[in-house]
Amino acid sequence: MNASVYRTAVLIAGLLIGLTILPHFLKYHQQDFLIFLTINILVVVSYRLVTLTGEWSLIHAVMMGVGAYTSALLSKNFDISFWITLPLAGVAAGTMAALLSYPLFRMTQFYFLIGSFATGEAIRLCWIQFIKPFGGTGGISAIPSPELLDIDFLEPIPYFYLVLIIVTICVFLLYRIEKSRIGLTLHAVHWKGVLAESVGVNTWNYRALAFIVGSLFVGIAGALKVHYIGTVAPKQFDIGFMVFILIWVIVGGYRTFYGAMLGAVVLSVLDEFLREVNQLRPAIYGITLIFFILYLSGGLERLPQKIGSIFRMRKQGNT
């Protein structure tokens, strides 16, 4: 056990050090890309917490928007510092999730999927409709960037370090939650719901809890994103982005913690290379998605296993 913990620790430390020096070797737009990628990692990891209980929600992107709008409105209209609005963004998204959990968790499976989609879309349309605080289709622009000492957070490299630190903390917390007693109960709710209930687990509470905590963290991710871009608009959190989250998690593999991250990283990097064929991008995503769901339903994390089993089959064929 000690050996494996040691190995994991070295791996993570190496990864973090690598990420710390990486931006200095990149071009300007690649640094931008790295910031978004880091934020997206938090998005998928928090989404995984929601899916742990077996419910696939389609409202996660909108929850990110709730955090983003909260932080943007507070810092722009009330001059509140980024360092206060950032946690508040998480609290706002978590509160919204807590309120929505009453209607949403009366449904399961297919109904939950459609219900969460409808609720999310209704919230998003409210941002478009009520121009007074939310700014309509154009959204809110000129969102102030964080202030700390004399660091210029408009530059990508300082902002990247900020994002890296916050995302690392959040991902670590999410990891601890999943490995804790609560996380194990969430697994139980998914795979053995009735059995879990029979030993006294309130499944409704745990499903709602996963939803609220997941939303809280994605709200923080939303705030991180818009304080860098400087604008927030309803289009950033539409069903298209939600589908991307879904694709990252499915292609990476939703059964393990690192699978989802792997999906986000691999597909985002792939996406960077597809910049040339901008129009074709969605179709390539679509084909990838179909391919994975049909032939590699465990996701990328299962790839080594799959290849291994093919080789074994070959060997057996020869003998």
Partner: protein, 289 residues
Amino acid sequence: MDLFIQTIVNGIIQSGFYALASIGLVLVFGVMRVVNFAHGELVMVGAYTVWLVHAQHGAPYLFTVVLAIILVTGIGLVMERFLFRPMMNDPLGGLICSIGVLFILQVIATYVGGEGPSKQVPPPFEGTMVIMDSIRIPYQRLFSICVSAAALVTLWYFLTRSTLGWAVRAVSMDREAAALQGISTVRISMVAIGVGAAMAGLAGALMAPLTNINPHMGHNVIITAFIVTIVGGIGSLPGAVIAAVLYALFHTFVTTYFSGTIATISGLLIMVLVLIVRPTGIMGHRVSE
């Protein structure tokens, strides 16, 4: 008062589209237990066919309507064979596959039509019928509602009077029991998606001269179809038609007196409310686990 009556008329005409566009989703879900997220894109393909063949190349309108139906039915059958059938035991898998198809169809549409502003198709039936000096119905809309109604009546007749229609309803009620009676569920799935896609193609072709055509028009269609499906009761065809009429009237009224976005927001809220209070919808019935 005139505006009131005019709004009712507009709502009834709109209901034809809503019913046609939703019925395919209901049928496919009822028979195959798959939510086809690409359903709105099937409607979009129907509309694009009319734009490309009729408006750009001058083929007769009615011919392109038939062409749209055939093309979209073909796409539906391909989806069934290569995506939904292998994913038979995994409803979520089917849904995710259909999201993939959604992207692919959107990209194809962008390639065919190019980027830029939405396309318009000049209405093949010109002129407007005026009743009582104040209520105006363009002939194009009159034509659409008549065709929609005819298609729905034909579908109803097919489902209740023909053996194949009985089989479709049997499979949507209880898949296993139907299979035990010797009904080929695979064949019935093909029939269901074929008919559903044909209706979507027809809806798109009828809508084409009356709306803005762009690769993302399916988004609004699928939201409408979801609302109609849920409010009507999942898998219930009469429920879907009734819900389509009600929702079309509701949406038209709110759009006329307030705004389109508010209409959609309240539609979505009604749908969530129905999901909470009466998940079986207005015409659905309880199914045991």
